[in-house]
């Protein structure tokens, strides 16, 4: 399956201005109101708070103690845990959606994590920075150094992001582990969706980040 075959969301208002991050707004739009959601790598709970305003029963896992404690101090149901090691504790089908927002690239075993997301949740929503973004490519091609951007400012030696991928790579992984891509959106540098009618390589080139709504594929 290629990105071209995947339908993006319609009528999603995004943008960097306002209270919430563009990818969070997009993720929130993908979740049906009234559902039960697990946010893996929930940071300081911004997405969970956004989901709460939409009547969604949200829970979170966060690696950093500071992040967890801030979430709990906001009254959110968040536990300290590691996506790589703690997802195994959750039973099958425990959630309607499991969200992994800007965290996949920081896991030790992205493939195992992805499989766990779709075991625990009937659907998964995954967003990640696209390493195929033109600015990344240009820095490597022309600058000859590991890319750094406004959203990914860490140097190569102190970044938590150990498994970067491109949109193309991610689609390939989904195909490999038989994951169905229900919807996908690439966001440009300004948090706007990349227009739908452009060919997939444009997404991979101009999408600064991507958001995928995934479900379990049928038997192969």
């Amino acid at each position: 399956m290629s990105v071209q075959e995947v339908l993006p969301l319609n009528g999603v208002a995004t943008g960097r201005s306002g209270q919430f991050r563009a990818d969070h707004l997009l993720v929130a739009e993908m979740v049906k109101p009234g559902s039960k959601v697990l946010d893996v790598g929930c940071g300081e709970g911004d997405l969970l708070q956004l989901l709460e305003t939409r009547g969604i029963d949200g829970r979170g896992i966060e690696l950093s103690r500071e992040g967890v404690n801030r979430c709990v101090a906001k009254g959110l149901a968040v536990v300290q845990g590691d996506a790589d090691t703690d997802l195994v504790n959750y039973p099958d089908d425990a959630f309607d959606y499991v969200i992994l927002s800007q965290t996949l690239q920081a896991t030790r075993q992205p493939r195992v994590v992805l499989e766990n997301l779709l075991r625990i949740g009937r659907r998964a929503i995954v967003s990640f920075p696209n390493f195929g973004f033109w600015k990344m490519r240009l820095q490597l091609l022309i600058g000859g150094h590991m890319p750094r951007t406004e959203n990914l400012p860490a140097t190569w030696y102190d970044t938590a992001n150990i498994h970067f991928c491109t949109i193309k790579d991610f689609v390939q992984l989904c195909d490999e582990i038989n994951v169905k891509m229900e919807r996908s959106v690439a966001l440009d540098l300004y948090g706007r969706p990349v227009p739908l009618n452009l060919p997939w390589w444009v997404w991979n080139m101009f999408g600064e980040q991507a958001v995928f709504l995934l479900s379990r594929g049928g038997g192969k």
């Binding site: 029963d57 404690n69 709990v72 009254g75 959110l76 149901a77 703690d86 504790n89």
Partner: protein, 400 residues
Amino acid sequence: MGSVKSIPSPAISADERSHEVDHPSSQVAHFGTEQPLRLDCGVDLSPFQIAYQTYGELNADRSNAVLICHALTGDQHVANVHPVTGKPGWWETLVGPGRPIDPKHYFIICSNVIGGCMGSTGPASINPVTGKVWGLDFPVITIPDMVRAQAMLIDRLGIDTLFAVVGGSMGGMQVLQWTAAYPERVFSALAIACATRHSAQNIAFHELGRQAVMADPDWRGGGYADHGIHPHRGLAVARMAAHITYLSDAALHRKFGRRMQDRDLPTFSFDADFQVESYLRYQGSSFVERFDANSYLYLTRAMDYFDIAADHGGVLAKAFAGIQTRFCVVSFTSDWLFPTSESRALVHALNASSARVSFAEIETDRGHDAFLLDVPEFFDISRAFLQSAGKARGLTLEDR
């Protein structure tokens, strides 16, 4: 060598202490022979009494009741001056006006556990059959027994569902037992610095404490009350050993280091040269003023026996299957008595049960005792958890 000061005798007489045992300075619920307490050991305890304190008012919906469960050496005087020691309530940092558990919003209940010595029936109480102090004739009690007795008190107070059950250490064990035994009666649970079972190391420390009590000749096989004496030296040693487990190496070092007590040079004796020794002796001697030695044996035993998973076929998650209670689990980084790993095991079991759970580990060097101390991050978390649960419960938590 100079004279060796041993642990001083208590300033408060055994009479003052024993008065609280049968006639506590708090409210008391009496349960007659028609309402026995069915104990895990197979005995029906009857009659018995539960001493308790309440703060605040029960609302019209009876939906704002918060039960505070006390730890090993605590009692019902959570937020008022203690009738024996004259000291402030043991959890006034968390409970009281302007605190996270504010009597303005909640009807707060705290009862002395069964087996205790501050007014609930225990080994220091009078056995109605013999007319003498129970002593070791008192049946061995468990954490589930304590909770069963609390449930009878809650029934007596006309409360169906508790808005929250809150406790640390042995109190946290009671919180977890409440959720395992009466999940539909607990809307939210705040379990602090505790575990779903007592570890081998903790049982070992308790055994050390009990042996110290029993090695005191004044213990008299548990029958000291009949002789008008109290094994205060043994109990003080037990308290000193236990107190070390409530602290941390870092906290002891920060507080005392190797500093000397009222002297510059060592006395070359076994006097309390070091501040840390003097502090421990004080902890030991002040404890025996307010606590009964046999009660200490019974309550430590209750903690030793605690193992929720064992009561559910060895699978902890089964204890919480399908539970709707909202949980908040809190641990402290330097707590080696109930380390974070114990809380994490609980959280994993709650996750496996799809329970709604928050879990925060708070960084502090103050050890297990941190839950009783002024730790602002802990208060912020407790307050937010209860406010969020209160919203879900439909409580009005704004200023009235």
